[in-house]
Amino acid sequence: MRTELAALSWNPVSDFEQLTTFPFMVQALEAGTIVAVMAGAIGWFMVLRRQAFAGHTLSVIAFPGAAGATLAGLPLALGYFGACGLGALALSLVSRSGRSGLSSESAAIGTVQAFALGLGFLFVSLYGGQLAGLEALLFGTFLGITAGQVQTLLWVALAALAALAVLGRPLLFSSVDGAVARAAGVPTRLVALAFLLLLAMAVAATAEITGALLVFALLVTPAATAQRLTARPGPGLALSVVLALAVTWVGLGIAYFSPYPVGFWVTTLSFGLYVAVRAGTHLLAGPRTQVVGVPA
């Protein structure tokens, strides 16, 4: 941890130079950029599908994965991906009945999450109470990223975006109107499972770097803001990615010049933006809220 804070000179050019002097900062910016693009795009679908609870649960499941891998002496990445993949399977199992059983679904997701946390706690206590990594896992070690991690992250992100591009149309269709999509022959259950796996992969890839918490913030808030502003899929997706990028960059920049953590700044910026946009659209559109749906 830096004991002395960098001074802000209010000269954008020299400030930017100062930001990029240290390799750890460059790598943090690179990783943040990759995470923001991936989270912005996948998060848009997550918000459209109203799966924020599932997304949060997946990000929590990263914790028992890491703890279990540490206990078994396996590489951490294996734990993250394994646990998140299993979590996605479990979630798709419990959320099988799309419309009916809405309340049962929320109970089932909560149960999955609590059980995963319980397992994580068991692993940690079996390991001998070494909880030092827990805080890093939850809140991220953004400023300790290696170049190798950035490269892995880039490949995962490219794969995820490619998968999203393939999945995009049926996913959009079945998210907006599941019944019609099913009638039109879209395998909605398979699409839902594929999306959950994609979400799990994104969470697992970023958990080690940004922390489970930050990735959730980047998944949900920029996308929610974008969907407040436009209901059209193309511009909405682009806006979501741009907002995620903006809050990540600005958050990293402010965090560099302040004593407070990156996670705080990124979540605060994105939440502030969300509230501002909500208030703005509310004032402009009157009391009626806009419903996200297919473009007219």
């Binding site: 929320s106 909560g110 149960t111 706690f121 068991l122 909880l131 805080e135 808030t221």
Partner: protein, 290 residues
């Protein structure tokens, strides 16, 4: 087992916290607000950290933050009822605030690297003093009684808010009141038994009860019963197996109950043809509010 004082304290606090969580959890599940309950337990976590960072009594921060946020969530009304995106956005910010307070707290008091945070997250039901246990039990009893006092109108307004409003029930006020009761239990349970146990005891028994019966009162009793039974069996298990943390054991039992209930509900649906109008266990009792 009960010869040890820490076990007696754990049973005292655990029984009543479980009862409170089970009763409230039934409504939480009925109203599809598990995510909100989860968020509130993290609000409690953040509030506790904020109080610790500011150097004031942790309980003050805990209750103040949780009740405040719960009031806000309730005031958003039924529109926020199933809107998990709103909760998710607030949630993400609360987690970010938690990161802030944790960093202030850790840098302020050297050497205590986040163990307080871990304690709040996972609790330590076996480390309660008799005073802590009594307080936890008392808060849980008060919350349970408050819930039972408004149970009838709350049930009505949860199942069919439109009709309830038409009959002159204060649906909105009931929603806020319910949130405040939930916050009370969340705050107390989080610091006594940990956020982990809270979430598990809110979601799993209520979910199991909803799967097993469509009758509201029976479901409410069943949910409370499953929660208390999970707590007792879990505590006994973790006493027998020392390497098994009590939180994990209780959650494990509650999760098993939920899985069993789901299997049972599925079997029942396969086996018997549902009577028209009676509804299968999986069917929502209330018409989905759009």
């Amino acid at each position: 087992m009960l010869a040890h004082e820490f076990m007696r304290n754990a049973f005292l606090a655990g029984t009543f916290v479980a009862l409170g969580c089970g009763l409230i959890g039934y409504f939480v599940v009925l109203r599809s607000q598990v995510f909100a309950g989860d968020a509130l337990s993290h609000v409690a976590f953040t509030g506790a950290l904020a109080a610790a960072a500011a150097g004031i009594d942790v309980r003050v921060g805990l209750f103040a933050a949780t009740l405040l946020v719960a009031g806000g969530m309730g005031a958003l009304g039924e529109r926020a009822r199933s809107d998990d995106v709103v909760i998710g956005s607030v949630f993400a910010w609360v987690l970010g605030l938690g990161a802030l307070f944790l960093s202030i707290f850790v840098s302020g008091s050297s050497g205590s690297d986040g163990t307080a945070a871990v304690r709040v997250l996972f609790g330590s039901i076996l480390g309660l003093s008799i005073a802590d246990a009594r307080l936890a039990a008392l808060v849980a009893i008060v919350a349970s009684l408050a819930l039972l006092a408004i149970a009838r109108p709350l049930l009505f307004s949860s199942i069919d808010p439109e009709v309830a409003r038409g009959l002159g029930l204060p649906v909105r006020a009931l929603g806020i009141g319910f949130f405040l009761i939930l916050a009370l239990v969340a705050a107390e349970a989080t610091q006594a038994v940990g956020a982990l146990l809270l979430l598990g005891l809110l979601a799993a028994p209520g979910g199991a009860a909803r799967l097993l019966t469509d009758r509201p009162w029976r479901g409410l009793a069943l949910s409370g019963g499953i929660a208390v039974a999970s707590m007792w069996i879990g505590l006994a298990l973790s006493y027998r197996i020392p390497s098994l943390p009590p939180g994990t054991a209780v959650i494990g039992v509650a999760t098993s109950a939920f899985v069993l209930a789901a299997l049972l509900a599925r079997l029942r649906r396969r086996g018997a043809v549902p009577m028209p109008g009676s509804g299968t266990a999986d069917e929502p009792i209330f018409a989905e509010a759009s």
